[in-house]
Each structure stands twice: as structure tokens, then as C-alpha cells.
Assembly symmetry: C2
Homo-oligomer: 374 residues x 2
């Protein structure tokens, strides 16, 4: 019921097609983050308008509220949220370490208290997979342990080994044929641990692979080295998902290293905080220079926000605390992200990805640190 | 450049057509409140989709932030916000008494400090009209004094007399021919003061009349009596605007007494607070009874929210504090308000308003206090 095909390459960059029970995803693709079953500050029709093909939802948040059993009774994420396209759920591993209280980690899993109501929970590989089967996303993730950065090598080694054991338990617990379960590569910034993690996962025959534990504070050079090292190890015929990354520049560098799927809260979170990503760099809309600026946020952008709102108006709405500002800035940022991925894909299909990458970098460099406008 | 025509009557209810430089308004009409130049939690395309024909913006808020001179330089409210249809601005009189600090009322006007930054301001009839000319709405209001309820009769009498004097000064200061300036009838719940206020305004030849100082805490019976008393006094050929009213039932009773225009924050504010107005009464979406309810908020409603979201999903988003909940509930409430007005207008054109009114009341009574669903 699911398939993935690499349609074209340009250097190491790949253009592919992921087919799911809820429709196709053209890769490389960016997945807007719908933590609690909605992408913050926008509606489904906004997501359709910006061209989102697949959404991410967070296992940790949804198992706590409204509860995965309730979501299952209402038809899974698709029935519950009404989003007709594909969904991906994460494993809950990262959130349980970053958000929950009173964590206790054992080989069995993680005991914690809900950040919503303090109730006690135990998240294991089996429970994570059960939650994800209840949520019914098209793509699910094996339960993993994501070590912090920095951490002693021994701690990373232990977390990586446990992630392998948990991947095996996750795989054994997974029973939906209409859902793909990805293994997650851990190993921090240590290339030998990354390689070991990847090779152990390969033996289990996962249909796709996530690369976790990056974008947690490590130097960008380390991240690039990990991706460079994993590229020839991971099977070329299976999709690769770089978790939680990143800025538009990070996405370009990820695609350059063979990544197919991305998610990140930056376009939505920064939108709510008044920061826009544009073809000329970042725009902090509260900056006084935009007080009377009649130009749209990005004069080259055809999104709804740029077609209908000036920087002066958006600045005013943001400073007045209007919810509409969060919506409009989020719409633009998501459009910019998704459009950047679409343009990358097009350049790969044309065999011109390297030209795109260089032009993208030049455009940003020409106007940093704050876009100048027309 | 502006005109108003009563097209049909049914009892005392009127169906009319207000033509403005920014398009027509079919009356009776409800104006969504866009305090700071945006209707909270929705975008222009949402407003277009629910069928809004005219928006209200608040003079007090916009003169303080971003400032009326800035709005004027960016093309007035229409250029600044991008809303192409008609706008109405209020006089700032009500807000300066309810929101500002350190008010000092004199015959000249009201001295106050901004609730935004504490800066000192003087709002006079001349300044209110200047601000409104800068904002450039199609309909503007004379500066008025809105006494609180309850207040001693002498205080109401004094405020009413001052409102007349300020109306004269407002009229003298008004110079835009593409903008209608309405006089505001005050007088509290005292029918003789209301009549005196109206007759004094009539002598000044305003093109339309607002009825202020209601929906401030007075008994509903008093409000109905004021409207009944004013109906034969106000000229039938000119539009009548009942300020700040009210619930859907209030709107029906206002139309029954000859009112053409309404505004109120209830559909937007209550939407953000999780309360829906439906054909079967009000729905508090946080109610536990909706926890697993797969029905839309109002099964009879064709709005975007009711076509795409269940009560269970909306309840979850609201409880999770998701901005998207505010957007979806606001869209439904605005649709319900605007649709109620459209249906009233249709019933008037068919000479069947009284049937509509009775059916509307029966439908609500059958399901109070909380809609039961299908």
C-alpha cells in the first residue's frame, strides 16, 4: 500500500515520489508540524493553499491529549482532524525527554508525568507503536532515545545501542500494513556510532530511515559530516527523513546530502514570533524600519500574505498582539519553505541542483542580515 | 457618492441597500468588529467566505496604534488593511470611557492616557472627526458621550445635551464628501431624553443615525422600549445603526424595530472563548459532552468550520490552546450571524419577517440551554 521511488538525481540530491494510502508526496518534502493535530495558527485550507502534501503530528502530545484511543475511535488522525493527505507521527522519544516531568529511563522504556495534568505514564517501544497505530499516520517511527548535546561518548553509545534494541521491539510490535514504520538512526556526532546504528537498523529491513539526534545544538559542520557519512550507508531506494531540521539553508544542505523528508517548527514558531523567512533573508516584522513600509514581506512571493498585506500592516497587527498576524506570518513562512522544496525538486529533475544551491546561497548572502526590500 | 434606499418592509422591519464608494451593503447587516484593523483570529479571505459586506474599526484603538496619520499615508483603512469593501468607524467616545486611564471630561472633550503606552491625548469632536477622516471609512460617527448604566437621570441628561453640542461640532468639522457622518442618539433608558436627542440631531440633517448607549447593562425591556419609541421619530429614509448589539436574538428584535445596521464583539470574542452560536442555541465547546462527538458544531450550517471539523476536534483544539480553534470558532460564529441577517433580509423581501422571528425563537427555545446535536 506504500511505495517510494527515486525519480531523478542531481549530484547526491534526490527527487522522489512517496505513495501512501492518503496520496502521494513529492520529495524532497517539508512537513509542517501539527503538534496537537493542527498546524498552529492556520487552518486546513491554508495548508492546502500553501501546497502542503504531508503533515507531522506528535505522538507524545496526542497520547496525552486527547488520547490516542479517542483519536482511534474517531477515525484516527485523518478522521479526527479532517486532513485528507498523508501524516507522519514521531515516536514520542524526543518530546518525552524535552517536555515531560520526572522522567525515569530504564531498558523497558520511560516513566514520566504528563506536562498537561501530571498523570503518570510509561512510554515503551510497544506503547509508542500502539499509540502510532491508533493515530494511524501513514508513516510512523520506531521508539528511540535521543541523547542531549553535548553528552559523554559513553552516554551516546549507550543511547544508540538502546535505540537499536528499541527499534527491534518497535518492529515486532508493529502490525499495520497501511503504515510504514521507519527506524531512527542515532549516534550523536560520532561517525562510527552513526554507522553502527545505521547498519544495525538495515538488518531489520525498515522501509525507510529517520536520522534523529541532530539539530539539538551540535555545530553545523558536525551535522553535515554525519549526513555525508550516512549517505552511502543508507539504502538509496528507501526514503530518508532528517528529523527536526531546520532553517531554509539547512534544508538545502540536507537535500544536497540525499535527504528526502524534513520537519521543523521554525516556519510556524518564528511566524508567531514575528520573524519571516524570505528569498532575501529573514525579516523581523517588529523592526521600526517597517513602520510605514507598503511593500509585502517578500516582493517576489506569490503567497496569500504577500499578495494581500504590507509590512506596515503586518508589523501593526503583530505589535497589537492580533492572532491574525500569527496566521498571516505562518502562511508566508510555510509557503516559503514549501516553495523552496518545490524549487529544489524542480532543479533536481532538471539536473541543476548545484546551480540552485549556489543561487540560493548568493541571494541570502546579498541581503543579510535583514532584507532590504525592493 | 453614498445613498440608502429602503427596498421592502415587513411590519416595521426594513430591507434596504446602502451604497458606498467601496460597494453596496444589503441591510439589515451585521458588521464584524475589526478593532485594530483586523477581525480577530480571521483573515480577509475568511471574512469574504462568510459573506461579510462591511467591517467596523475602532477609532480609539487606531488613533493610538498605529496612528491615524500613518494609516492615512498608507491609503486609509482600505489601503492599510487591504479590505476592499466598506468600513464604518465609531467615534472613540465609548472606548475612551471604557478603556483609557485618567480621563478628564470637559466641554472641550476628553483628556486621557493611552492604554497602550500611557501617552497623553485629548479627544474632541474635531479630533474624532479628523481621525475618522484620516482613517477614511465610508461611515463615520459624530463624537458622543456614552453615560454608564445605571446613572442618575441628571447625568444622562447632561451627557445627552453634550452629545448634541458635540454632534454639531462634529458636523462642522467634517469635510469628506466620500464619507457619511452619522449622528448618535443618546438618552439612556429615558424615552423623553431619547426623543429630545433624536429631534435635535434631526435638525442637523445627518444622513444616518446611530443609537448609542444601549447594550451597556440595561434591562432588555428598556432597550426594546427605546427602539420602539425612536422608530417613528427617526426618518424612515435614512439608515439606523444600533451600536454594540448584541446576541442573535437581540439582532432579530432590533430588526423587528426598524434597525438596519449592527455590530458586536460577541461572535468573535465568544468564539475565542469557546462558545458557539448555533441554530439550536449556544454550544460551549469545552463541555465534556462533546469529548467524542463526531458531529459538526451546527449540523444545519454550511460554513467552512461545520463542513470540516467535529465538535470533538474543536473541543480538543480549544482545550489545547491552539490558535486554530479561535479561528475555526470565529468563522462559524460570524457565518451564523451574517447568515441570520441574510435570512432576515430574505424574509422581509418576502413579507414574512414575523414568521421568521417566531420560527427563530422556537428553534432556540426547543434546545436551550445547550444544543443537543442531531
Amino acid at each position: 500500500m506504500l511505495s517510494f521511488e527515486v525519480e531523478a538525481r542531481s549530484g547526491r540530491a534526490r527527487a522522489g515520489r512517496l505513495v501512501t494510502p492518503h496520496g502521494p508526496v513529492e520529495t524532497p518534502a517539508f512537513m509542517p508540524v501539527g503538534t496537537a493535530g493542527a498546524v498552529k495558527a492556520v487552518t486546513r485550507q491554508d495548508l492546502e493553499a500553501v501546497g502542503a502534501q504531508i503533515l507531522l503530528a506528535n505522538t507524545y502530545h496526542l497520547m496525552l491529549r486527547p488520547g490516542d484511543a479517542l483519536v482511534a475511535r474517531l477515525g484516527g488522525l485523518h478522521g479526527f482532524t479532517g486532513w485528507k493527505g498523508p501524516f507522519l507521527t514521531d515516536s514520542g522519544g524526543y518530546q518525552v525527554f524535552s517536555l515531560a516531568d520526572l522522567r525515569e529511563l530504564t531498558e523497558e522504556g520511560v516513566r514520566f508525568r504528563s506536562h498537561v495534568d501530571g498523570s503518570p505514564h510509561l512510554l515503551t517501544p510497544e506503547r509508542s507503536v500502539e499509540v502510532q497505530m491508533n493515530l494511524g499516520a501513514d508513516l510512523a517511527m520506531a521508539f528511540d532515545e535521543c541523547p542531549p548535546y553535548p553528552a559523554p561518548r559513553e552516554a551516546v553509545e549507550e543511547a544508540t545501542a538502546r535505540t537499536t534494541r528499541w527499534a527491534e521491539r518497535s518492529r515486532a510490535a508493529h502490525r499495520r500494513t497501511d503504515q510504514w514504520l521507519f527506524g531512527i538512526v542515532q549516534g550523536g556526532v560520532h561517525l562510527d556510532l552513526r554507522e553502527r546504528s545505521a547498519r544495525e537498523l538495515l538488518g531489520m529491513g525498515f522501509p525507510g530511515h529517520a536520522i534523529g539526534g541532530l539539530s539539538v545544538g551540535e555545530p553545523k559542520g558536525d551535522r553535515d559530516r554525519v549526513l555525508d557519512h550516512l549517505d552511502p550507508i543508507l539504502p538509496t531506494a528507501k526514503p530518508r527523513y532528517l528529523m527536526g531540521v531546520g532553517t531554509p539553508e539547512d534544508l538545502v544542505e540536507g537535500v544536497a546530502r540525499g535527504v528526502d523528508l524534513f520537519d521543523c517548527v521554525l516556519p510556524t514558531r518564528n511566524g508567531r514570533n514575528g520573524q519571516l523567512f524570505t528569498s532575501r533573508g529573514r525579516v523581523s516584522i517588529r523592526n521600526a524600519r517597517y513602520r510605514e513600509d507598503p511593500l509585502p514581506p517578500d516582493p517576489d512571493c506569490p503567497c496569500y500574505t504577500c499578495r494581500t498585506a504590507s509590512r506596515a500592516y503586518l508589523r501593526h497587527l503583530h505589535l497589537a498582539g492580533e492572532i491574525t498576524a500569527a496566521t498571516l506570518l505562518t502562511i508566508h513562512n510555510l509557503f516559503f519553505y514549501l516553495d523552496t522544496l518545490r524549487r529544489m525538486r524542480q532543479s533536481i529533475l532538471l539536473g541543476r541542483f548545484e546551480e540552485f544551491r549556489q543561487e540560493f546561497g548568493r541571494s541570502l548572502a546579498a541581503s543579510a542580515p535583514e532584507a532590504e526590500g525592493a
